[in-house]
């Protein structure tokens, strides 16, 4: 087995205090290996997004450890954590979060801009990713003028532009019709297959979950079952 890229140990997240105390995650321990595709599935409110935020270092656990490449990140300085997120992760959020005033190219190169990459290099790499996703002709369009599917592809382009090791996607097909969902799924699994990206997908969508190599079923802040083996097109 390959080294775990992400691992957790007894991960606990508690929201609120006293009477409003709510245990969103109740001590999760699991590993995600490099090049794996993992789906986090569960009912609404079961703690999927909370878990993804912790894995993606967007939030800190109440207790427990998240380790990246074998190293616990809990002790790191905020600035270092920001940098890790920028270097290592790609995000596709439930909503698009595209800046409507900027062009598609400007939107998708934001992670590079934050990383401090120069403008010409940014644009070169941005165009590369857009071509990969068949979006090169939209590069100069304002982000508002895209269709829903194109917006989601732009979001994926933004997630990929910094060559991440791990791609997190929260409900990547939640806003799309069936046909467009399929295109987006194809892109995600194509990347997983061809570039060996580790894929962590939070979803309600049975089809999408089925295509992943592993499914973590969540209920009330706990992983109740774990399924192995993709039942979809990619074996």
């Amino acid at each position: 087995m390959s080294t775990p890229v992400l691992e957790t140990e007894n991960l606990v997240k508690v929201y609120g205090k006293g009477a409003t105390r709510f245990d969103a995650l109740k001590g999760l321990t699991f590993e995600i290996h490099e090049g794996e595709s993992v789906a986090i599935v569960g009912k609404s409110g079961s703690g999927k997004s909370t878990l993804m935020h912790l894995l993606a270092l967007l939030d800190e656990p109440t207790s427990g450890v998240v380790a990246l490449g074998g190293e616990p990140v809990t002790a790191l300085k905020p600035k270092k954590v920001s940098q890790l997120r920028n270097d290592t992760f790609g995000f596709v959020f439930q909503q698009f979060f595209l800046n409507p005033n900027q062009t598609v190219l400007e939107n998708i190169t934001l992670p590079l801009k934050i990383a401090g990459v120069g403008k010409s290099e940014r644009n070169r790499r941005g165009m590369e990713v857009l071509e990969q996703l068949d979006m090169a002709d939209k590069a100069k369009n304002k982000a508002t003028n895209l269709s829903g599917g194109q917006k989601q592809r732009a979001c994926i382009a933004r997630a990929l532009v910094n060559n991440p090791t791990v791609l997190f996607a929260d409900e990547p097909t939640g806003n799309l019709d069936t046909a467009t969902s399929e295109i987006v799924e194809d892109i995600l699994f194509g990347l997983h297959r061809d570039q060996g990206i580790t894929l962590v997908v939070v979803t309600h969508d049975e089809d999408l979950a089925a295509k992943c190599q592993r499914r973590l079923m969540m209920q009330d802040g706990e992983i109740v079952t774990e399924e192995h083996g993709a039942t979809g097109v990619h074996a």
Partner: protein, 431 residues
């Protein structure tokens, strides 16, 4: 994020809601316009005063007056008669003499003070008339020759020490039926003066210069040479019975090493009930008033800026609120809190730079145009030679710009800290 990208992004964001930015900038423009104008006004007037001081040249000089009032010691009953004091209170020796006049014994006292190298007593004469070559006579009041140093000349030279010379003001050219100042140079005039017994006599004098009126008032009246002044004085004293008692309006005293000895001489003068004033003393008081006025006006500019800085806080707080998601996204994608703070402070600085530059340019434009119009040919203050109401002081302008940018930065810190504190998850959940 690179600094250049921070700057560029901040600039782009500033122009995203143009109207809002414009209104915020206008508030700053008003402040920076006011400050530019008031500081330029102070600089301009002070510069003019400086040139007036420069006109007086010899700063080793001190003007000595009798404090007069000190003579009038409170007494019970009638004061004993004192011929010197009587001469001192002789009312005929014109204006500007303060409380009293200087007597010959005062002059001797002054000469004995340490470090005084020369004493030049000034008499103030009151002639009756001036007669032009064509025989017309006009009322005449003469300035004192000591003021010759402050004379601004339109033509010719200032009246000197020797020779029966005088200068006339520019607006007196009409009595010679000419508008050309050069033409009256060399003209001969008669000056009539009465002596103590009422007998009138005349002396001849040559016009050697035409003066412009300075803000100090020097040059507004004809000015005699020292010799002419002395001659007129001698004529007016003719027929005086008994011992002639000279009386002087003031004395011009040369002091050695005035920087170090100024205070010593002044103290010595005070002991003799005399008052010594350097040119700086006289001008310094004027400049102090000018500075005070321009500071008060600048205070209004600062109040405008204070109001404007709340505008910046308000604008940026709105902007932070509107862009909560964008901030959350940037932080989620790995932008550090420090950079987020930097980005929003930079937006405040951009607004500050915009406002200050526009305000300074408008202020300079208004100041220079206003100055040109007011003091130019035919303007309301055009008659005052060398007057500047507005001067460009590069240091002050840099200072104003820096101050405004700094104020804008300070105003931006509150919204910027708000933005930097945003939790990416909260921000991404924000609807």
């Amino acid at each position: 994020m690179r600094s250049v990208d921070v700057a560029r992004t901040a600039l782009g964001n500033t122009f995203r809601s143009k109207l809002r930015t414009a209104l915020t900038v206008v508030a700053i423009v008003i402040g920076s316009f006011t400050l530019t104008l008031t500081s330029g006004l102070g600089a301009g007037v002070n510069k003019y005063v400086d040139t007036v001081v420069g006109g007086f040249g010899g700063s080793s000089q001190m003007f000595v007056l009798s404090t007069g009032a000190a003579d009038a010691e409170p007494t019970d009953g009638p004061a004993e008669y004192d011929p010197e004091a009587a001469a001192s209170s002789g009312g005929m020796f014109g204006p500007g003499s303060g409380g009293g006049v200087l007597t010959d014994s005062d002059i001797e006292t002054i000469e004995e003070i340490e470090n005084v190298s020369a004493v030049d007593p000034m008499v103030f004469v009151s002639p009756d008339f001036i007669e032009t070559p064509d025989g017309a006579q006009y009322d005449l009041e003469l300035d004192v020759p000591a003021n010759a140093l402050g004379l601004e000349l339109a033509a010719g030279d200032a009246p000197g020490d020797d020779g029966m010379e005088l200068s006339i003001p520019e607006d007196w050219l009409t009595i010679f039926d000419t508008e050309d100042a050069e033409q009256v140079i060399g003209e001969t005039v008669q000056i009539g003066i009465s002596n103590v017994t009422g007998e009138q006599s005349t002396v001849e004098a040559e016009v050697v210069g035409v003066s412009e009126e300075a803000l100090s008032g020097i040059g507004a009246t004809p000015m005699p040479s020292r010799e002419l002044n002395q001659q007129l004085n001698d004529l007016s004293m003719e027929g005086y019975e008994g011992q002639a008692q000279n009386a002087y309006t003031m004395a011009v005293v040369d002091v050695e090493n005035i920087e170090t000895n100024e205070q010593g001489v002044k103290d010595a003068l005070v002991e003799e009930d005399l008052l010594g004033l350097t040119v700086e003393d006289q001008i310094g008081a004027v400049q102090g008033v000018i500075d005070a006025v321009s500071w008060v006006l600048s205070g209004f500019g600062l109040i405008a800026l204070l109001a404007a800085s709340f505008g910046i806080v308000n604008t940026l707080l709105m902007s932070v609120q509107e862009r909560t998601r964008e901030i959350g996204l940037m932080k989620a994608l790995g932008m550090s809190s420090g950079k987020v703070f930097g980005l929003f402070s930079m937006e405040a600085v951009v607004i500050g730079i915009l406002g200050s530059v526009i305000g300074v340019v408008l202020g300079l434009g208004a100041g220079l145009l206003g100055n040109a119009w007011l003091t130019g040919e035919g303007g309301p203050l055009g008659g005052v030679a060398g007057l500047t109401l507005f001067a460009v002081d590069p240091l002050a302008i840099i200072g104003i710009t820096a101050l405004i940018v700094f104020i804008a930065f300070l105003a931006g810190t509150l919204p910027a800290a708000r933005a930097a504190k945003k939790d990416p998850i909260e921000a991404l959940r924000y609807e």
